[in-house]
């Protein structure tokens, strides 16, 4: 795209916006920034512009940029869930390519606005992460960049272990607030004899946490006793940013499917020349190439939405985009016919090769849903923060048939030790045998139970 084409692009964006609204979409107001490839790849690597500095971001940036330089992969679009939404267009794309991206983007910004799982997301996240980055930069100056980097290494190793839908807050607040009409000081002056007796008893140890806690980061934030303020702040930052990305992780197939459905619809209704239509068809085909070792969310999501529309009508797809997430979407709408048409299969490692083992549709659907559970990460909870009365941390992995990668788990436990500063245990299973990994700060040992 050259400078002369920019006014043409602006005009096209206006038209596409009108078309999208006319067809029933209701996206956030969207701002488009035209950027060079290096910038697009940087934002792709950091997931949001302006996020804090860390070598893992540099690594992701390098990998994305290399792939782009060698022509191995391209980012099709980059759009941020905020209000107004931000989207980035590549300055080296052709005008038609960018129109295609714009149509796709409105699908996403409509999805962000209406899907219920996004309802509680921070719509000013770009500003938030940039403030977070500023604080972390200041900590690097105050505490030393190596110190901060090492701490971030540890926190990022458990960044996924958060709980977007906690169940425990209401209980705690209930206990703290007295009911209306009650004397708020009544419990200080027990009047009944049995209550007096109870107070005289030795208190039983209060279990921390009372219920298994899925949110490792929050647990550390509240209960780790050696952390300095800047360290707590970094944990809070990583947790806040992880929480922001949760809805995107749990609606990847739907979100891409929805956007692909709309770029198809909208582009077909624009007055494209034959040449443009061919270019567009090529782009669409590239986006919808089957994934071989993994499913292509654009293609699978698109086909499911098209199938829902065919079976239940246009209204229904709007309802589905509002209420479901990937797991419920697949459970409800991935049919036998779709599994066959999309040629989905189950495969596993058999000696030297990954081989297809099953094509039965319900099996395919179940394996796919299982792989999305907890966003594809092992489900780990804090069971005890005072194990054996010695402040040791006891974690439990809810084993679902898949073992952990043990060398990885051992290194992760060492990271957690640096955060907790007391021995850390993890109970899991290895080939169906219950076992426990223990990190004492120096070494990790494995005990079969």
């Amino acid at each position: 795209m050259d400078d002369k084409e920019i006014p043409l692009l602006e005009e096209a964006i206006g038209k596409i916006w009108d078309k999208a609204r006319e067809l029933g979409l209701d996206p956030f107001p969207t701002h488009f920034e035209i950027v060079p490839a290096t910038i697009l790849y940087e934002f792709g690597a950091y997931l949001l512009p302006g996020r804090f500095s860390h070598w893992t971001h540099g690594k992701a940036y390098y990998q994305m940029k290399t792939q782009y330089d060698y022509g191995l992969s391209k980012i099709y679009e980059l759009v941020i869930n905020s209000n107004p939404a931000y989207a980035f267009l590549l300055d080296s794309n052709s005008l038609l390519h960018n129109k295609f991206v714009v149509a796709h983007v409105f699908g996403h910004t409509d999805f962000f606005k209406h899907n219920i799982w996004f309802a509680n997301t921070n719509r000013q996240m770009v500003e938030t992460v940039s403030l977070n980055a500023q604080r972390i930069r200041q900590y690097s100056i105050d505490e030393g960049s190596l110190e901060v980097e090492r701490f971030l290494d540890a926190v990022l190793s458990i960044a996924e272990h958060i709980d977007p839908y906690p169940r425990r807050e209401p209980q705690e607040s209930k206990a703290a607030t007295p009911k209306a009409g009650e004397d708020p000081y009544a419990d200080l002056f027990p009047s009944k004899p049995e209550e007096r007796g109870r107070l005289g008893k030795k208190p039983t140890r209060r279990k921390v946490p009372p219920e298994p806690e899925k949110d490792l980061l929050r647990f550390l934030l509240e209960h780790a006793d050696h952390l300095e303020d800047w360290q707590r702040d970094i944990i809070a930052i990583v947790r806040e940013e992880s929480l922001y990305f949760v809805p995107q992780m749990q609606t990847k197939i739907m979100n891409e499917g929805w956007a692909s459905y709309w770029h198809l619809r909208i582009m077909r209704e624009l007055d494209l020349t034959d040449e443009e239509f061919i270019e567009f068809s090529k782009l669409h085909a590239a986006v919808c190439t089957p994934g071989k070792t993994r499913i292509n969310p654009y293609l699978v999501g698109l086909r499911i939405f098209e199938d829902i529309e065919k079976r239940y009508g246009r209204e229904k797809i709007f309802e589905v985009r509002e209420l479901e997430n990937d797991v419920s979407f697949l459970r409800l709408y991935l049919t036998e016919e779709l599994v066959r048409e999309l040629d989905l299969f189950v495969y596993k490692l058999d000696g030297e090769h990954w081989q297809i083992t099953d094509k039965e549709w319900e099996k395919v659907r179940d394996v796919l849903c299982d792989s999305l559970t907890n966003f594809g990460h092992p489900y780990i909870v804090v069971e005890d923060g005072d194990y054996q009365g010695r402040r040791e941390l006891y974690l439990r992995h809810y084993h679902d048939g898949r073992d952990l990668d043990f060398p990885y788990a051992e290194r992760t436990l060492q990271y957690i030790y640096t955060l907790w500063n007391h021995p850390v245990h993890l109970e899991t299973k290895e080939k169906d045998r219950p076992c426990r990994l223990t990190c004492d700060g120096e070494r990790v040992t494995k005990t079969y139970l």
């Binding site: 540099g58 940036y61 990022l156 458990i158 089957p290 071989k292 030297e352 043990f406």
Partner: protein, 381 residues
């Protein structure tokens, strides 16, 4: 409800800055693993330009994750997939032990592999090495200035234009606009070589490599000799403009051979180390005037010498050779923990320029190099 903008992003440097930190960490990781890396077979048989791959464990982003080789996954075919079809190669089918796995074609496996040339690796290894005991020679002979192209810049005299890079740059710019051809050359495509004057100790060095080819030197010992030798010569070549190598093999008799024979010859028979030292002395006298040459005899053996009488003779010869040498290296390669008779005899030699190393496994190669070429000797130039 929609708006568009295009800012100047040319000063935005966040990604490259974090990438630089990542690169630094890669170098650190390689440095930490040098003992494991440098004795890899693929390196010493390479020509220096080929990329070698070094798996870097410490740069993996450890977290709780599932065993990447276990469990069922869902994939997607193009319409005709069958139960039993192979989707990808597994870990056992990809690559051979020690070389790491093939990245990219493994479902779920993500690890980092640094790619670097042998030259880059050499640079890291040689950072810590220096030339000890370099004898001062006349300055005229000692120092030469040479020109080395070190950098590429966007501005410079036309005489230094780097044509190849300029054409590539132009094609790259055109490719971004969809036409990967060489056309419309503009100033921003131009690339210039920048050179620096480099000062190196001149004159010449000769390495007299001696190897025990007796029956007791097995494959492992030959391999270690080769690996050490590879780095040693490479290192000396960075320090001297001209490095000559003389290869001597010995069992009970010594003879001068070519490089190929030196590394591959396996003979039966006894060992008389003095024969090699005598030949070494002869060759120096005939061909390498110590006034003009920096002389480095190195001897690799398992120390399993013929007789105590010969050991004594060897000690005398070492003293004699040290009068003309910068450094005499003796590398004893053994698989057990015994002390050889030759080693016992040598341990009486106190000259700091006589350096003994013992090697019993691959990872000893790097410490051996460091011992031979430690800094702290005389400064160069």
């Amino acid at each position: 409800m929609v708006s568009t903008s295009q800012h100047d992003w040319s000063l935005h440097r966040k990604g490259p800055a974090d990438q630089a930190r990542h690169n630094e960490k890669i170098k650190e990781a390689i440095r930490e693993n040098l003992p494991e890396i440098i004795a890899e077979e693929s390196i010493i048989t390479s020509d220096g330009k080929r990329l070698i791959k070094v798996p870097i464990r410490s740069l993996e982003e450890y977290r709780f994750r599932f065993d990447p080789y276990q469990g069922e996954r869902v994939g997607q075919g193009t319409g005709d997939s069958q139960v039993g079809d192979v989707v990808a190669r597994g870990p056992a089918g990809a690559g051979k032990g020690g070389q790491g796995k093939q990245a990219g074609d493994q479902p779920g496996v993500d690890y980092f592999e640094a790619e670097l040339t042998v030259d880059e690796l050499a640079e890291l290894i040689f950072e810590d090495l220096g030339l000890p005991n370099l004898r001062p020679k006349t300055p005229r002979e000692m120092v030469t200035e040479s020109v080395k192209f070190t950098e590429v810049r966007k501005k410079g005299p036309m005489g230094n234009l780097d044509k190849r890079r300029t054409i590539l740059e132009n094609m790259r710019r055109n490719a971004l606009r969809g036409t990967p051809v060489f056309a419309n050359l503009s100033n921003e495509d131009l690339r210039f070589k920048v050179w620096e004057q480099e000062t190196r100790p001149s004159s010449s060095a000769v390495v007299l490599a001696m190897r025990d080819a007796s029956g007791s030197m097995g494959e492992f010992k030959k391999y270690i000799t080769r690996s050490l030798f590879f780095w040693m010569v490479r290192f000396l070549r960075t320090k001297y403009q001209d490095v000559e190598i003389v290869f001597i093999v010995h069992h009970s008799e010594a003879k001068e051979v070519d490089e190929e024979t030196f590394f591959h010859l396996g003979e039966s028979g006894g060992t008389r180390v003095s024969s090699a030292y005598n030949l070494c002395w002869e060759i120096i006298n005939k061909r390498y005037d110590p006034e003009r040459w920096n002389i480095y005899p190195f001897h690799f053996s398992d120390g399993d010498n013929w007789s105590d009488a010969d050991n004594k003779l060897c000690v005398e010869l070492v003293h004699k050779l040290l009068t003309v040498s910068n450094l005499f290296g003796y590398g004893e390669i053994r698989e057990g923990g015994y002390t050889s008779s030759l080693m016992s005899a040598f341990s009486a030699i106190k000259d700091p320029r006589f350096v003994i190393v013992t090697i019993s496994e691959k990872r000893d190669v790097y410490p051996a190099l460091k011992k031979w070429f430690s800094r702290g000797g005389m400064a160069i130039g």
